[in-house]
Symmetry: C2
DNA sequence: CTGAAAGCGCTAACAC
DNA sequence: GTGTTAGCGCTTTCAG
């Protein structure tokens, strides 16, 4: 084996485009090597200068910066990821019973926000469903996956938080319930419910029923608890029926409400989709909205405006952006960050 | 410099988890090296066996497969990307004048479909806006970006197709207009327009106006041409006003239509969003829909169902999925793939 | 058919 | 401070 001193090897190896005059188009991007040669220093020094991860003389720093600037040097995130084991994509992991959860507008918006956060760092975003019955197998697969830079949990359960694989700690966040290990980002759903009830009571409603979110979803219980508390505080019966987040459960929920409490004069829905289903059922039953029954949703999707639905806002983009950032950087404060929700008054309540 | 025979070096280097009994959770994923040792062959052979990129004896193949299977080996996409220069993410590049294009439902759906295609390969997805005025600078940046595995163009212009950087060829596709270099995937917008006009004419409409899509967008011209042809074939005046894809241009377009041709009895919109804006204006002007004026949209978004809008379907997920696949694999046939659109009859026409 | 060796572009010990 | 040396996990000539 012939042993060649490294530096000489470097010098003898041609640096293809730097001295040639290839078409700008075909020219491959500059590497650390190119910058080092231009600045007259070693690759290590360039690395330190660029990342700021070690001592570099002011002089070297200046020359490196100038060279990098001139050649439009950008560190290759792939090489970085390989050496640091940091991964190249943020996974939006949605718990659910079927892939329908990936087809909903909400998930699409979370993914979009995540992708936009990832873009400048050369990272990508993906989605994956975690089966409700056994989310841990999915999480373990993610832990073993070297491409995973961070995980944004959507529809987090207690089991997932408790069983979070070690390797995922510090780069996993939750949109919803969190834990000591997992910072959480969520909307002030409880406040939204309280405000909605207050509005209904103020406008004379006395027999309010709530169609709740999925029973297995911890963060969906806060609005329910708030509804109960607000109702009791106002001296009203805390009527609730179990629901989900889709149109269908809005229909079933409204049917259940009308069957159990025919005198209901207001329905509070866990989300707009559910409210739309309820509106449908009310219409079919000949109940006028808002005259006979008021309806309040939650989310303020485009459809809410079109159907004149009174609803509380849900700043999904803001939440998801903060969450994705949290999954990439070391989380700022490892507690819960809640985003405000405000009631938008329209015709339905 | 001490020169150590490679194989001996390999043998003397401990293979951390393979012989130890670390917690399953903390155990790092198996590498080529682990499989090679277990199968009693070299890394090169394992590589050939796994990728099928070279001659391997049946015996070696069997042993490698067994070992890989047993250890749950999956090749690290990052290392692969580094050595092959293949990139780790597919970029959805949307041409537009402002970042609003990234906030629309359509783009979110394209991104979701792209992310789902990328997921199994360990790749991610991102979005990026290409400024309408100068999309080439953006494309050149993408060409220089090593993380880019493929590009899905949305709202493609002729200039972009003509000036596509060499390094992007073969891994760029277009949702919309394509070229010899760029395979295209689109909906049968022309057919949709023809069918819509046929329906309107059949139901007695004679003074049909179209609010077109953006003038700068080539693929948006096909429906316009089809509309003109259909109208003329039916002996009707081919009335068109320029529009865009947003609610606002639907409103402005409808105003323009009513101002120029007060006797209009049908409006064909370039998309549902535009149709919704038109509906609003018609209501404000006291025109009854569909009695006085029929309205037909295009896309069949959720809002179309809610507002009882007659519209033609637009299988965005199908199109984007095919496009993303095309950006990753060598495109099947380098022509245009058109997806069918069908008219959904509701109350508005 | 198979193994050794050479990197992809970068970071991180470790010496000077 | 700065350079040298080792890799990260993989593919790929190039010899045998």
């Amino acid at each position: 084996m012939r042993t060649v001193p490294a530096r000489q090897a470097l010098l003898s190896r041609p640096v293809p485009w730097y001295d040639g005059d290839v078409r700008d188009d075909a020219r491959p991007p500059a590497t650390l090597e190119h910058v080092a040669r231009a600045a007259g220093v070693s690759r290590a020094t360039v690395s330190r200068a660029i990342t700021g991860s070690g001592p570099v003389s002011a002089d070297a720093l200046r020359r490196v910066r100038a060279a990098a600037e001139a050649m439009g040097y950008v560190a290759d995130p792939i090489a970085r990821a390989l050496v640091s084991g940091a991964g190249t994509r943020v996974v939006v992991a949605v718990t659910g019973t079927s892939d329908d959860v990936l087809d909903c507008e909400y998930t699409a918006r979370v993914l979009m926000a995540t992708a936009r956060v990832c873009a400048p760092d050369g990272l990508g975003a993906t989605v994956r469903r975690l089966p409700l019955g056994n989310p841990l197998t999915g999480l373990e697969a993610l832990a073993r996956d070297r491409t995973v830079a961070g995980v944004v949990l959507v529809n987090t359960t207690e089991a997932m938080l408790a069983g979070l694989p070690r390797r995922l700690r510090g780069r996993t966040v939750s949109i919803g319930t969190g834990s000591a290990d997992v910072p959480s980002f969520d909307v002030e759903g409880a406040v939204a419910a309280t405000t909605s009830v207050a509005h209904l009571v103020r406008s004379g409603r006395r027999r309010i029923a709530m169609i709740t979110g999925p029973a297995w979803l911890p963060c969906a219980q806060h609005p329910v608890a708030a509804f109960r508390a607000a109702a009791e505080a106002a001296g009203l019966p805390p009527r609730t029926v179990a629901g989900g987040f889709d149109r269908r459960s809005g229909e079933e929920g409204a049917e259940a409400v009308l069957a159990r409490w025919p005198d209901t004069d207001a329905i509070l829905a866990s989300c707009d989709e559910v409210a739309l289903g309820a509106l449908d059922v009310l219409r079919r039953h000949g109940r006028r909205v808002p005259d006979d029954v008021a309806v309040v949703g939650f989310d303020d999707v485009l459809a809410a405006e079109l159907t004149d639905l009174t609803t509380a806002t849900h700043p999904v983009e803001l939440i998801a952006t903060a969450a994705a950032r949290g999954a990439l950087e070391a989380p700022v404060g490892d507690g819960t960050v809640l985003f405000p929700s405000t009631l938008v008054l329209r015709r339905s309540a």
